[in-house]
Symmetry: C2
Subunit: 374 residues, 2 copies
Amino acid sequence: MKRQTVFLINYERTLGKHMLYDIFEKIYKLEKEGKKIVKLSVGEPDWHAPKGVLTATYQAMKHGKDKYSSSAGEIELREKIAKLHSCDVKNIVVTPGSKIGIYAILKFYLKIGDNAIIFSPHWTAYELMCKSLGASAKILKLKQENEWKVDFDALDEIVDEKTKIIILNSPSNPTSHAWKENEEWEIIEFAKRKGLLVLADDAYRDLCFDERKERKFENNLVVANTFSKTFGMTGWRIGYMVAPEAIVKELIAFNQIAITNVPQFLQIGALKALENKDKVAKDARRLCMKRLELATSILKGHVEFSKPNAGFYIFPRLPNKIDTLQFVNEILDDGVAVIPGAAFGDYPQHIRISLCREETVLKSALGKIVELIR
Amino acid sequence: MKRQTVFLINYERTLGKHMLYDIFEKIYKLEKEGKKIVKLSVGEPDWHAPKGVLTATYQAMKHGKDKYSSSAGEIELREKIAKLHSCDVKNIVVTPGSKIGIYAILKFYLKIGDNAIIFSPHWTAYELMCKSLGASAKILKLKQENEWKVDFDALDEIVDEKTKIIILNSPSNPTSHAWKENEEWEIIEFAKRKGLLVLADDAYRDLCFDERKERKFENNLVVANTFSKTFGMTGWRIGYMVAPEAIVKELIAFNQIAITNVPQFLQIGALKALENKDKVAKDARRLCMKRLELATSILKGHVEFSKPNAGFYIFPRLPNKIDTLQFVNEILDDGVAVIPGAAFGDYPQHIRISLCREETVLKSALGKIVELIR
């Protein structure tokens, strides 16, 4: 039988033996076997859906809100989101997670041979999606010693006639660095001049320590957002896209053809979550800042890293004498999971640590990391 | 900005003004405005998730089963499904609805210029997915006067070197006809000889009046299945694929890259639903048969149709003097929604009626249809 095997092949080639997702699957397996793992590997808050969300969801299920529904999303939820982003409801579509929305956007814009610009270190899903579509990712490597800032000259140089999209992930996974708002703006303006779309993955934006509001609507901008991080609702698989109306129509058509709808009862839960968004986001930021201070105090002097201004990751560089993959395996044997930097691009000496655990657990796990480095 | 608009364009071209999905969106709109519509348009059971499913789901949510989970699906659910299909757990992947699984399979197998064989009348999503991938659908028209039976000579003729897949949808949406098991088997054998994959969309299989068991695993077969129809859980968006291990690996990779996981709490609910599958399916079949008898007694003599042997649709041909689109609009004004046959291929004189309403409502709605035909 002839088939394309496009996903698997790219996927294995890109990530090699230290696959991000394979590490996740292995951890699930170890846990099923009863082993306790402190998962500083997973980009997942340890807080859960806000108060009232579960009840609202259950009530909706009980009241028959579990049937086919609009492929655009529930109108009440879309209206609320439109208000947050200062745009019209026609600019909003609800998606089962922001990932599939990002995939759909790349699918619309990238023909075979086209490319998207991705700032690195980066979330590899972007790159894998591009490749699975027969397009490519143009990787623009950023540097820790520059505090992961954009290099505009390099950006100008890397854009070619096959470039269609710039992906903006600020705050970034894995660095937890957000560019200044004027720097982000400069990227959007640059894209405008070049006739490119900016796809902003704002999963972590609510967690900017300088308290940024939702990104405003722009004509050459598509914003992907999610309930996963701010609200700790990772497993709910609910996100949304903010985009010009013509693009929203495409996304709705994609939903109609391949998805149908996001479960209505989950959307009713998500609407409930938005009621107290300001407070939820504030609490989450405060917790992130506290944990970052703790991690900084423990790790200082043992690894180098540029201190984040958002979110819950740190992306330190291990001393050169250390073999990163061996390190990641040994610390996993010791009950602590982290992700090798190679899973985020050409950063073989780095690791990504997620700080989403309570203080005592974090202290002990980071202590083990320091000990192993020594 | 350059973009592909591949979905929307194909979609509008394929379905013209009488778009299936647009009718759905219009009905939602009318209902939001307070108008009562008897929706014999939507392929959606009026029964709900079996007893215990909602509670199991809610309990799972409350116990923290709302975080990232395996991209393959919950092992307990996969094991149960594997048993039903007499295969290994490695042959099962859980998907957010069977639609996205079907899309992923077509994506793997169809390169630009390739084609898939689709028996018509057909669920247009298949065709739209093929087109959105730069592939095409080879439509094999079946005839009502032959009771929608396969024409094997025509099948042999239509296959060419660009054919990669045969889509088998038996029982079919919209005819509710299931081919005999030996006819289905002949298609699978034919595909084997030609080196083709058979993609069986078994959404309605549990509703075969002759009580068929789940389709058994085959080496050149991918089965798409869903909790939507048998269990009335359309809005839950949970389905699964049964496939050779190499293909399952591809589907898991697709989930990892574009989906992450189906909400764990929904999978726990789905597992609960499977506990009483035999009884649930039996009750559903009995209800479908009863409603079909009622519909037959009301419609006989007014429209021609080949009596289904499964499911809950009928696909009658209106008398030639009637303009179908006008008919569909007038009956919608009268509070009854049905779908024009043109939404299922080259069947401009047909309509699809879904019989998923209680007896009294059905009687009244079908009565209106008969009256308008007269």
